[in-house]
């Protein structure tokens, strides 16, 4: 969706400021939010794409006003209700009103160690990769109202395939009920002037990680 989360190339947000306080969490509740997200993700209640989708579906004014962990909190409430794990009435009540539903696994102390290593998103391909490094490609001009990982600033632009990064879970499908639908992933590099015009930094190149359905031959 063409949401405010898709920030690449926007103006008006000001300077990048160093953090006055470098602690990982700035309030206890932020740490609880992160931990709940990790634990429930471990239980495979929903995946990372569904989390991102739930964040992006917040109204633009709320997304911009919320802090990072507030966005996570809102997304977790949304995901948990949409997956039927909890009810909106329970959130309103602040307590469980019914027993839980079975989940793939509840994270235990024994799982802590392995839970911290990032999982793999690689999947077995259904077909040969359509492109190879060195190919010129154009990013499709798509504007789905649903979740996608093709940023607006790259759409319609021509780039060069620099690397093939394997075959991965396709976020656009996972978040629209079409399953993991594995797709080939490429690093596509663009000239800064192609993206931003003649006044752009002549030394700039930008790459995105693009799934095959985003690409067409140039």
């Amino acid at each position: 969706m063409n949401g405010v989360h898709d920030m690449g190339g926007m103006h008006g947000f000001g300077r990048v400021e160093r953090d006055a306080d470098e602690r990982p969490f700035h309030a206890t509740w932020e740490a609880r939010v992160l931990a709940m997200q990790r634990a429930i993700r471990f239980a495979r209640a929903w995946n990372i794409d569904e989390s991102r989708d739930a964040i992006e579906r917040q109204p633009a004014h709320r997304y911009l006003a919320a802090s990072y962990y507030e966005r996570w909190l809102m997304a977790m409430e949304t995901n948990a209700v949409e997956k039927g794990l909890i009810g909106a009435d329970e959130i309103a009540a602040g307590r469980a009103l019914r027993p839980g539903k079975p989940v793939a696994g509840v994270m235990t102390q024994g799982d802590l160690g392995r839970s911290f290593t990032r999982g793999s998103f690689s999947r077995t391909p259904n077909s040969e990769a359509r492109f190879k490094p060195g190919n010129r490609v154009r990013m499709r001009n798509i504007n789905p109202p649903t979740h996608t990982r093709l940023p607006r600033y790259a759409r319609g632009h021509e780039g060069l395939i620099e690397a093939l990064r394997g075959c991965h879970v396709f976020p656009d499908s996972v978040t629209t009920g079409r399953g993991e639908d594995p797709q080939w992933l490429y690093t596509v590099v663009f000239n800064g002037r192609d993206l931003w015009g003649a006044d752009a930094d002549p030394t700039l190149t930008v790459s995105i990680e693009a799934f095959e359905p985003y690409l067409e031959p140039a």
Binding site: M10, V16, L34, A65, Y68, E90, V106, T117, Y153, S207
Partner: protein, 234 residues
């Protein structure tokens, strides 16, 4: 004025929640009707109450164990962090074979140091000719396994919006100036691949041990938003 998105300055947002001036009526946003303290000036913000409510519900329904949540927090507060990435960078500076392995497959190379690193980590090398920077314009993708949790600025709108269009301007915000002829390559982390910048080894460090070199490797230089410290750095 820039939109405030920094998580440690939540007072404004929280006070707006509390006063009900933020619309919470849209589908997908559930506002708990939590009992408040008797006095009006509760120490707990609505956000805190909502977090507490969610944890209570998830716990009562058997989806999470609060003691496990404590363990997760301890890990992120005390165990993980940029010292892991710094170790790999310092090793690459002293060991050409390791450097080649790191650039070939960073997940595998760093695992050989006895550190558990998840899939799809890619190391990108800074040279005299080219400087690499990493951003996630769509959310906040970041190599947690080697750098820990991202700093607030990395997740902020100013960085996410500008890094892909005006990287030199963004670097200037942090007081970093690169030679005009140095190419800048910005990696937008739009999928599950993760990027670690391998900075150039600082001059004047001949004969330094790996451990000593690691003290020059800052988190920011592994994102490309800085350069390593030098022996002359005070």
């Amino acid at each position: 004025m820039a939109v405030e998105l920094r998580s440690h300055k939540d007072a404004t947002t929280i006070s707006r929640y509390r006063s009900g001036r933020v619309d919470s009526s849209y589908p997908g946003f559930y506002r708990p009707n939590m009992p408040k303290h008797d006095h009006d000036h509760s120490e707990l913000s609505d956000t805190q109450l909502r977090v507490r409510a969610l944890e209570t519900i998830l716990t009562e329904k058997g989806y999470v164990d609060p003691a496990v949540l404590d363990g997760i927090i301890e890990h992120y507060e005390t165990k993980t962090g940029p010292h892991i990435g710094a170790r790999a960078i310092a090793r690459a500076w002293v060991d050409p074979q390791f450097k080649a392995a790191l650039l070939e497959d960073a997940t595998k190379a760093i695992a050989s140091l006895g550190v558990g690193v998840g899939d799809h980590l890619i190391a990108v090398e800074n040279t005299r000719a080219r400087h690499n920077m990493v951003v996630c314009t769509l959310c906040s993708c970041y190599p947690w396994d080697v750098l820990g949790l991202p700093p607030v600025w990395y997740k902020s709108a100013p960085y996410r919006s500008r890094a892909v269009m005006d990287p030199r301007g963004v670097l200037a915000d942090f007081g970093v100036t690169l030679p005009g002829e140095t190419e800048i390559r910005v990696w937008d982390s739009t999928a599950e691949t993760r990027f670690l910048v391998l900075p150039q080894r600082p001059a004047g460090t001949d004969g330094w041990s790996e451990e000593r070199l690691a003290t020059l490797v800052t988190r920011d230089c592994m994102i490309g938003m800085g350069l390593p410290l030098t022996p002359a750095t005070p």
